[in-house]
């Protein structure tokens, strides 16, 4: 029985990759996302120049071999700043999505497995949370606790909790009614084991897809907060902060305002393409629809 399951799982995986290499959106999105991740990881150990050291003598210098993307008004290397900015964005995205899945996932599962008061509370709480856009929540939190990366991550992450709670609840409800789960319940498998071994693998796909979308939204929200001066604080560079500083120099150094924006847009585009691709590849209904003749 377990051999058959293993063969089925291997077939599924090879089928996924066979379809994946023919999906241009998934490939482009995956390549962009992977590149950003690698750049972010590289920035942790190496950048061409230190980003906190000012070099006024070389301020606003044009692109050259020494500084491939030029320098800013403090003489800092733009390429190095963009690399560190990538690391900052990836960190914010990871923690914010992790917070969303880590708290929202179990809440959603619990509300699907224990309908009634918990389920109703999760639904109403998520209804309520949708009234507080991430940016507004972040503004409120930073008004009290001051600006900073951690506070902005918490604010963005809090907004992700109801998103994942609602999604997990929605997809878990149908899995909870499946025969194999009913069978596991009937033979007395503990609820935690049912959740981890039988339900989680079957609800992972939509959660992964949503995670890429929320990751992209978190990067946008963090960039917005940093642009306002409420997110990442100097001297740590961030794409949003770089855009804010560049706005005052639009007349004589427009590239300073263009490059960080391109980084944000390309990263978000990559994550969105990856999310769309994963949804196409992981959702059997969409796979079937793709095979149908177009109307």
């Amino acid at each position: 029985m377990s051999d058959i399951a293993t063969i089925g799982s291997i077939r599924q995986r090879t089928g996924f990759w066979r379809r994946a290499i023919r999906h241009p959106g998934f490939l482009i999105g995956g390549a962009i996302s992977l590149s950003v991740l690698l750049i972010a990881a590289l920035a942790l150990i190496w950048t061409p120049y230190p980003v906190t050291v000012l070099n006024i003598a070389e301020k606003l210098s044009a692109a050259s071999i020494a500084h491939p993307l030029g320098t800013d008004h403090f003489g800092r290397d733009i390429l190095s700043m963009l690399m560190v900015g990538a690391g900052n964005s990836v960190a914010v995205g990871l923690v914010a999505v992790g917070l969303g899945i880590g708290l929202g996932g179990p809440l959603g599962l619990l509300s699907a497995m224990r309908p009634g008061l918990i389920s109703e509370a999760v639904m109403r709480a998520s209804d309520l949370a949708f009234a507080f856009p991430a940016l507004l929540t972040a503004v409120m939190i930073t008004a009290i606790y001051g600006p900073g990366t951690m506070n902005s991550i918490i604010a963005i992450g809090i907004f992700n909790v109801p998103v994942f709670a609602r999604l997990t609840r929605g997809v878990s409800l149908s899995v909870w009614e499946m025969e194999y789960v009913t069978a596991a319940r009937a033979v007395g498998v503990p609820p935690l084991q049912i959740a981890l071994r039988h339900m989680l693998p079957n609800i992972a796909s939509p959660l992964i897809v949503q995670a890429t979308i929320q990751f992209a939204l978190a990067i946008l929200a963090e960039a917005g907060l940093s642009y306002l001066g409420l997110g990442t604080q100097p001297p740590q560079p961030s794409w949003g902060k770089m855009l804010h500083e560049a706005q005052t120099m639009l007349y004589f150094a427009p590239m300073l305002a263009i490059l960080p924006g391109i980084c944000i847009a390309v990263t978000v585009l990559g994550l969105n393409l990856l999310g769309d691709g994963l949804r196409d590849l992981l959702d059997p209904k969409l796979r079937r629809a793709a095979k149908l003749p177009k109307t």
């Binding site: 507004l136 606790y145 427009p254």
Partner: protein, 318 residues
């Protein structure tokens, strides 16, 4: 329908109260002493005492909450600590900028998104569809404040057609005032239009597969009539819901866009209030924005149920 409306109204009132409670908790209870937050650690004791008295901090939190809500409902939003004028007056002045901006953004977004979404659905799988959806994909990825900076770079810096920001006010005429809101509204509308176009496309594609569309085509109705009279009308429910949800993002977006263009709107007021630690103003604006979002979603719920009777039975809880 009446029963559904009453049910939703009750839920609306409950959500509003709980939302106000959360804002009150975060802004007035969790920080410990909000007066100290506002004035900083080096504040003089008598200044602190005066502010505590103005904010009524000597009273228990539940009592403060109830009196704040009652005052809020009667239009008394307190006195701004920084500006020393009633907050309602400040909000009223700034609403004159934010409201037209938000409405223009919704209008622009709808005017771009609905025709593009329908066209994309009509030409599904063809180059027009690929191009429109490609642009939409890009539109979702571009942050609105960066797009705003690019618009300034093009129209103010390079072409010199308009100023890089500011608002002349309505005293010199409506057109110059609305003209100064045009670029901000476009910047605000773009990501919303991209999302709305994608939703409209998929909704129209769903409807185009329905039997009654096939029947309309079979009886020889012209393609345009089938699309615009039968398909689009029935496909509008999903885009309408998304527009309701987008309203909250749009309001939040004004906080950034008003700062990019230095517009004296509600978003910029909130930003300035944060910088000045004027919690009285921040609290009132947050509650007001949240109340607007909840109310707009309620109106969308009602419109949706009016258009689709099946939702009235389930209470609209999807």
């Amino acid at each position: 329908m009446l029963e559904f409306t009453v049910r939703r109204l009750t839920a609306l009132a409950a959500t509003l109260v709980v939302a106000a409670m959360i804002v009150f908790l975060v802004m007035e209870v969790l920080p410990g002493d909000p007066a100290e937050v506002m004035l900083g650690l080096n504040a003089q004791p008598d200044t602190l005492a005066a502010l505590r008295a103005q904010m009524g901090l000597d009273r228990p939190a539940p009592e403060r909450f109830v009196s704040w809500i009652l005052a809020f409902l009667s239009g008394d939003l307190g006195i701004s600590y920084t500006y020393d004028v009633p907050v309602s007056e400040l909000i009223g002045e700034r609403m004159v900028v934010t409201l037209p901006l938000a409405l223009m953004a919704i209008l622009i977004s709808t005017l771009i998104a609905l025709p593009s979404g329908v066209l994309s659905a009509m030409f599904r799988g063809r180059p027009a569809d690929t191009i429109i959806m490609g642009i939409a994909q890009l539109g979702v990825a571009v942050p609105n404040f960066w797009f705003a900076i690019l618009l300034i770079l093009l129209f103010a810096v390079t072409l010199g057609w308009t100023s890089a920001g500011g608002f002349p006010g309505f005293e010199d005429g409506i057109l110059p005032a609305l003209g100064s809101l045009l670029l901000p509204a476009i910047a605000l509308a773009l990501p919303q239009a991209a999302i709305l176009a994608r939703v409209t496309r998929s909704s129209v594609i769903d409807v185009l597969g329905e039997d009654y569309i096939r029947t309309a085509r079979a009886k020889g109705l012209p393609g345009g009539t089938v699309i615009w009279r039968h398909a689009v009308r029935n496909a509008l429910a999903a885009p309408l819901t998304i527009m309701g949800l987008q309203f909250s993002f749009l309001l939040a977006g004004t906080v950034i866009i008003e700062n990019v263009f230095y517009l004296p709107g509600l978003g910029r007021l909130m930003f300035q209030a944060i910088a000045q630690r004027d919690l009285i103003v921040v609290k009132d604006i947050v509650v007001l924005l949240v109340a607007i979002v909840i109310t707009v979603n309620f109106i969308v719920d009602i419109l949706y149920a009016w258009a689709d009777p099946r939702l009235r039975q389930g209470g609209g809880n999807v």
